[in-house]
């Protein structure tokens, strides 16, 4: 809640107001970019996340440092648990969307 979690934007969710899929050390979840309206990040950008909202854009190096800080604080598991928790059932949705895309690409 108080310590930010760094993530990389891997996809902007089309037809949504401000959702993006971020990758946090391999865990992919949707986060809200609605609080970065002044400086909208794009795919490939790194952000710091609090309670499911990207709160600031940061460099890749700072993202790595922050991940390391969380590890040093023994907070990695708690952070990943939080990220996994975002969006309740979204994981299934994201997985099936990815599958659909892969199918479409293969077809």
């Amino acid at each position: 809640m108080c310590l930010a979690i760094p993530g990389k934007i891997v996809e902007l969710v089309p037809a949504s107001e401000s959702l993006a899929v971020v990758d946090v050390v391999g865990v992919r979840r949707r986060v809200d970019l609605g609080l970065l309206e002044n400086d909208k990040p794009g795919v490939g950008d790194w952000v710091l996340i609090h309670v499911g909202f990207a709160m600031s854009k940061i460099s890749e190096q700072d993202a790595m440092d922050q991940m390391k800080t969380l590890a040093m604080l023994g907070e990695t598991d708690a952070a990943l648990q939080e990220v996994r928790g975002y969006g309740l059932e979204d994981e299934k949705e994201i997985r099936s969307e990815e599958r659909d895309k892969a199918r479409a690409a293969g077809a």
């Binding site: 809640m1 108080c2 310590l3 930010a4 107001e17 809200d32 609605g34 609080l35 970065l36 309206e37 002044n38 710091l48 609090h50 309670v51 499911g52 909202f53 709160m55 600031s56 940061i58 460099s59 700072d62 440092d65 922050q66 390391k68 800080t69 590890a71 040093m72 604080l73 023994g74 648990q81 939080e82 990220v83 928790g85 975002y86 969006g87 309740l88």
Partner: protein, 376 residues
């Protein structure tokens, strides 16, 4: 030393620690306060205070929103859920925090509909998925979480969602610092400013501390190197008789903060005339409530609130610890009656509270010392 090998730039850490020793005037005593639970956690985890000269004391201020929330607010929130058949949603941090009649988790075990959410948007999802049920979000946190609650409320209002409300416990850090500075029994020389709160509010709100109170403040990152560099910056200012706001965490904290987040907060929230902080008592204009145009989604307006007040046991000396008058272990209850398993005082409630951090990490002490060489 495994611990230190993991740190970024051990050589720079060593040099910063030397710089701290060089700058600390042996004829002075320095009391530096951090007001961020993450910093408190980091300071203990890294054993930072053990590599500082003995005349530098780090005081752990009211940086943990879970700790400073009065127990009565939890009871009020739970009583809404119980009396009106409301789904109680909150962040995981809140779930084990005891109210007078048990924690949210214990209420869940007794049959209350209590759900953990990791984001306020998930509370909205629950409301949409359960249209016949009212969903209340028990909002908590400083400025790292308040903008998200604000944005969610703006959307809810736009969509006209009916079965959702917020029980708002958001607090704001600046008035708490002011209350500590106004307190007659404390003497703080400088502040380590919060890291992630400042990504939202920026550095400007701290300017009065420097200008009016003549106290230096350095916004800091969370790594040992960040914290040591911030202490160096504070000592330099104190040595030169200066009081400025400086930003050690420039790589993440913009001076102006996140203006979109501040705008959302200003549109949705207004300051309460006063709010109670556990351990510090009532502080004027220190917390947020929903503005009139959001009354429909304000659980406090929508439901009758019992306004439960639970006084902390007199023997718990949280206030003195928060103000730096006492160290955690000097409290009469510390480690005996009051432990992280059975918290009595506010600061033992969450792992980021200074007493819990002290209790959990004291045995790790000297992690840095072994490598960096003992000090003073």
């Amino acid at each position: 030393m495994r611990f230190v090998d993991e740190f970024r730039n051990p050589e720079l850490i060593r040099r910063s620690a030397e710089e701290v020793r060089r700058l600390a005037d042996p004829t002075r005593y320095y009391r530096l306060m951090e007001v961020c639970g993450g910093h408190t956690h980091a300071i203990y985890r890294f054993g930072l205070k053990d590599i500082l000269p003995s005349n530098i004391e780090l005081i752990h201020g009211p940086g943990c929103p879970v700790c400073v929330l009065p127990m009565g607010r939890i009871d009020d929130g739970l009583s809404i859920a119980a009396d009106h058949d409301v789904m109680f949603t909150a962040f995981g941090d809140m779930m084990r925090v005891p109210g007078a009649h048990g924690s949210p988790l214990e209420h869940k075990a007794r049959g209350m509909d209590v759900r953990i959410v990791y984001s306020p948007t998930d509370a909205i999802k629950l409301a949409k998925a359960n249209p016949d049920k009212h969903v209340m979000f028990f909002a908590i946190g400083f400025e790292t979480t308040a903008p998200s609650t604000a944005l969610v409320l703006q959307r809810v209002r736009r969509e006209g969602l009916k079965n959702f409300s917020v029980f708002c416990n958001h607090v704001t850090i600046i008035p708490a610092i002011r209350a500590i500075l106004d307190s007659p029994d404390m003497r703080i020389d400088g502040f380590i400013g919060p890291g992630h709160v400042s990504t939202v509010i920026g550095c400007r709100p701290y300017e009065w501390i420097a200008k009016n109170e003549k106290k230096p403040i350095v916004v800091s990152g969370f790594e040992p190197l960040d914290l040591l560099q911030s202490i160096v910056m504070l000592l330099r200012q104190l040595g030169a008789g200066e009081a400025k706001v400086e930003n050690q965490y420039k790589r993440v904290v913009p001076w102006e903060g996140n203006t979109a987040a501040l705008r959302a907060m200003a549109e949705v929230f207004e300051l309460r005339p006063y709010f109670e902080w556990r351990g510090l008592g009532f502080i004027s204009q220190s917390a947020l409530r929903l503005r009139e145009q959001y009354a429909e989604w304000d659980a406090e307006r929508r439901f009758a609130i019992p306004g439960i007040r639970v006084t902390d046991p007199k023997a718990a000396q949280c206030g003195e610890v928060l103000k730096g008058v006492l160290r955690p272990a000097q409290c009469k209850l510390f480690g005996n009656e009051c432990t992280p398993e059975h918290p009595i005082g506010a600061l033992m409630v969450s792992s980021e509270g200074s007493c819990a951090a002290y209790y959990n990490y004291e045995h790790r002490k000297a992690a840095l010392v072994t490598t960096l060489g003992a000090t003073a």
